[in-house]
Symmetry: C2
């Protein structure tokens, strides 16, 4: 349930001057992602984050900016990693396969061991206080962007005769996105991999023929 994979880790290998970093920025970001994923943007305190990342506050601020910037970087990492199945699914040959790949990918991602149950794009900041509002809006925009990519893919499928004439690409995209989002809530509530998998079986019965 995340989208777009911005460039990960281009690694500037010029060690320049000054005292070298005592921690791996990439691994610290991964730890931060885990915390945000589990607790959401508001629920993750700097104490939680620095403890999990194994660094001090000033190091965090020097390396990532501030809490909001850290979240955005963590989200990009999420989009490229755990939510990478989204981009993969969009490349499936038929609309039906795109839909199924996306939903099966969601099941995998939501039931992966040693990962928080849920989706960062959904749970990150669904509703929140005023301070976190920019993050909420950004996540709304990201979800909408993913759904829009899906709509475009289905539009193309329709022009290729891959979808029947009566099918509406926007409606289908919304249907699939809604399922993926609902599945994130189900996963947060403890739904098992098998339950989510059967859910996808049921959901795909609605696919136009």
């Amino acid at each position: 349930m995340i989208y777009l994979l911005k460039g990960m880790k281009q690694e500037a290998p010029t060690p320049k001057a000054g005292r070298p970093r005592a921690f791996d920025v990439d691994e610290a970001l991964e730890r931060a992602l885990q915390v945000f994923w589990r607790k959401g943007y508001e629920g993750a305190s700097l104490t939680d984050l620095t403890a999990a990342m194994g660094i001090n506050r000033p190091s965090l601020y020097a390396a990532f900016g501030n809490k909001e910037a850290l979240f955005r970087k963590a989200f990009d990492r999420y989009a490229a990693g755990p939510a990478g199945f989204w981009a993969v699914a969009l490349q499936a040959p038929t609309a039906r396969e795109v839909a199924e790949s996306l939903l099966r990918g969601s099941v995998d991602s939501l039931s992966k061991p040693n990962c928080p149950r849920g989706c960062l794009a959904v749970q990150g900041a669904l509703s929140c206080g005023d301070e976190a509002d920019p993050i909420r809006r950004e996540l709304n925009a990201r979800r909408a962007a993913g759904q829009e990519l899906l709509r475009q893919r289905f539009e193309r499928a329709k022009s290729e005769g891959d979808l029947p004439a009566h099918a509406d690409p926007a409606d289908l995209a919304r249907y699939i996105a809604t399922l993926a989002q609902g599945m994130a809530v189900q996963a947060a509530g403890g739904a098992s991999r098998e339950e989510l998998s059967r859910l996808v079986d049921v959901a795909l019965m609605a696919w136009p023929k």
Copy 2:
């Protein structure tokens, strides 16, 4: 997307002794509900709450206990009010009508003017810090309880020949609940009434015949 309607407002009409309250407890609770609904449990500060309720902190504590107790009371009000369509839907004569009534009711609730976009049971505390964890668990349990009622209703429907033999009541209940939850996320992202309504049309295509 909420369930169970505990008793609302039994109104003890005995004015007893002491200075009478200067505010309407019921209306104050309604205002608190609006704040929690819009900002979630963590995102709603006592300052937000008391400002909206038009009372001071000590009055809030005297009348409702503390923030957590206030949230639970607000949630009960939500379940009996804006989410009352859930209980109504369960009484529809056929399984198909139960499902459709529930989803149409969700559309109505999620697109009602002058109400926050979304569902308190979903957005209240999907993921949060440690302090709000009891609320998160409670909301998980409430969602699960609603889904279980739906399952039992579909179980009955099956025994009444109202669902085909190959249909699995648990899977159907999860499907409908997932849609309702996903729709709450869609509404939070700005989906219109018409979009949600067409979504329901698509989703019901999956219903077993």
